[in-house]
């Protein structure tokens, strides 16, 4: 998986590409840990994400918890196969999806 990050003012846009699973979730987790300081808006652009496992969902949930304290978080361009997972697990109700 490759992760693209862009920071503009206090907005961080993260674009993971490929599969966010058991193997790759720790990579995203560590990227976020080092970049969320001072961020008030976190955007996940999921246009190129094709699969997500529970490990990936946990990273999103943990990011949401952090952002609850310091701003907002939103998921953009969610593909149908990812949306299916978010709906099954109830994450679609917890996360903001546009």
């Amino acid at each position: 998986m490759t992760i693209q990050k862009t920071i503009q003012n206090q907005t961080l846009t993260v674009m993971p590409e490929g599969r966010l699973d058991t193997i790759t979730a720790p990579q995203l987790e560590s990227e976020l840990r080092s970049s969320l300081g001072g961020i008030t808006e976190l955007i996940f652009d999921l246009d190129k994400l094709v699969y997500i496992s529970s490990a990936g969902l946990r990273v999103l949930l943990s990011a949401q918890k952090t952002m609850n304290k310091q701003g907002s978080m939103v998921l953009l361009n969610v593909r149908p196969e990812i949306m299916e997972i978010l709906e099954i697990t109830g994450f679609a109700d917890i996360l903001t999806i546009r």
Partner: protein, 361 residues
């Protein structure tokens, strides 16, 4: 009619098969199945003498084609052969591939050969592709052209050596339809394949080769649903089962998911079943085999596929764990929600050396 009598063949002193006896009536579609190295292709190649058997007779319409002095070219003219890798001439167009033998071997005029080639292409559903380059065709289309090329010599018998093995599962159907139509026209077909789903659907009779001979033969229903011999039962069971030993240290989930997918693709399957495979890896195998405190020592994973339906089963035996793998500390709500969503049902049971999880896909 083809009558094979007491045929034996060995390579380097090791018998491939001995005293094979087989009679094939005109218009039959006989499918030869068996394990790798069991001599299926060797038997097929004896029928057009690409391989010379050590002893025995092959009598075709009253003539022993193994007898000295046999005009083998005449015999081969009445017999076509279709190969796994199509063997089309890549420097010739589709049409040129088909008219070559009728003109060069049968002495047909170009005009007649072209007229007939067009009819044959229509017959295999390839009308309008006369000028196409073989390299621009899909595997299924290449194989249909190869069959049309064989038909151009008006064979009584066609030998097929793994005709669907190099094809995507989606292309097997189109080739199967063409082969079926040949039988309806009274052409005798002898097919070697390891694709048992294809074998079941296309065969009028199935011959199972094992233990250096014909172990069992019968209708597809007899062989696949009610095999009489233990060897046949064992072969069918094994060929429907994917089995892997997994250990925490050497767990390659991507490789595993892709092997499982490739195996599943040999059978009927639904999209949801394909989606289950990575979910299985992420939500069950990884949490149990890679648990930070009480990981399983190892696991035996089996995927058992059905020949007749898309109801397949996964069985994972986890060794060296004390508690239910479908509960804490291994799996939580989220793991189970995902697993249950993509599976028909999931359950676990205690075994002597650990726990087993069964998943109906």
């Amino acid at each position: 009619m083809i009558s094979i009598r007491n045929l034996s063949k060995s390579f380097d002193g090791k018998p491939v098969w001995e005293n094979v006896n087989l009679t094939i009536e005109k218009g039959e579609t006989v499918v030869i199945i068996g394990g790798s190295g069991g001599g299926k292709s060797t038997l097929l190649r004896c029928i057009n003498r690409l391989v010379i058997p050590d002893s025995g007779e092959i009598v075709i319409d009253g003539q022993n084609i193994l007898a000295p002095g046999t005009d083998i070219n005449a015999v081969r003219r009445s017999m076509g052969m279709v190969y796994q890798h199509f063997n089309l001439f890549s420097h010739l167009s589709v049409l040129e591939n088909i008219i070559l033998a009728p003109m060069k071997v049968a002495g047909m005029s170009r005009e007649d050969a072209v007229t007939e080639a067009k009819q044959l292409l229509a017959r295999v559903g390839m009308s309008g592709r006369e000028d196409a380059d073989p390299k621009d065709l899909s595997g299924g289309q290449k194989q249909r052209v190869a069959i049309a090329r064989t038909l151009a010599m008006h064979p009584d018998i066609i030998l097929f050596d793994e005709p669907t093995s190099a094809l995507d599962p989606t292309m097997v159907d189109e080739v199967e339809a063409v082969i079926r139509s040949l039988a309806e026209d009274g052409i005798t077909g002898i097919i070697v394949t390891h694709d048992l789903r294809f074998a079941r659907r296309i065969a009028s009779r199935v011959v199972f080769l094992a233990d250096q001979g014909i172990c069992e033969e019968g209708t597809p229903e007899q062989i696949f649903d009610h095999p009489a011999k233990v060897q046949t039962q064992r072969f069918l069971y094994r060929s429907r089962m994917y089995e892997r030993e997994l250990t925490p240290d050497a767990l390659d989930l991507y490789a595993l998911a892709s092997e499982l997918r490739a195996f599943l693709h040999r059978y009927e399957f639904e999209k949801k079943q394909e989606k289950l495979l990575p979910v299985l890896c992420d939500e069950l195998l990884y949490p149990v085999l890679k648990h930070s405190e009480v990981p399983a020592e190892s696991a035996c994973l089996r995927l058992l596929c059905s020949e007749t339906s898309s109801r397949h089963t996964l069985m994972i035996g986890f060794r060296g764990i004390e508690s239910d793998p479908l509960a804490e500390p291994y799996l939580d709500e989220l793991n189970l929600t995902l697993l249950n969503n993509f599976a028909e049902f999931v359950f676990s049971r205690r075994k002597d050396d650990g726990w087993e999880v069964c998943i109906q896909m």
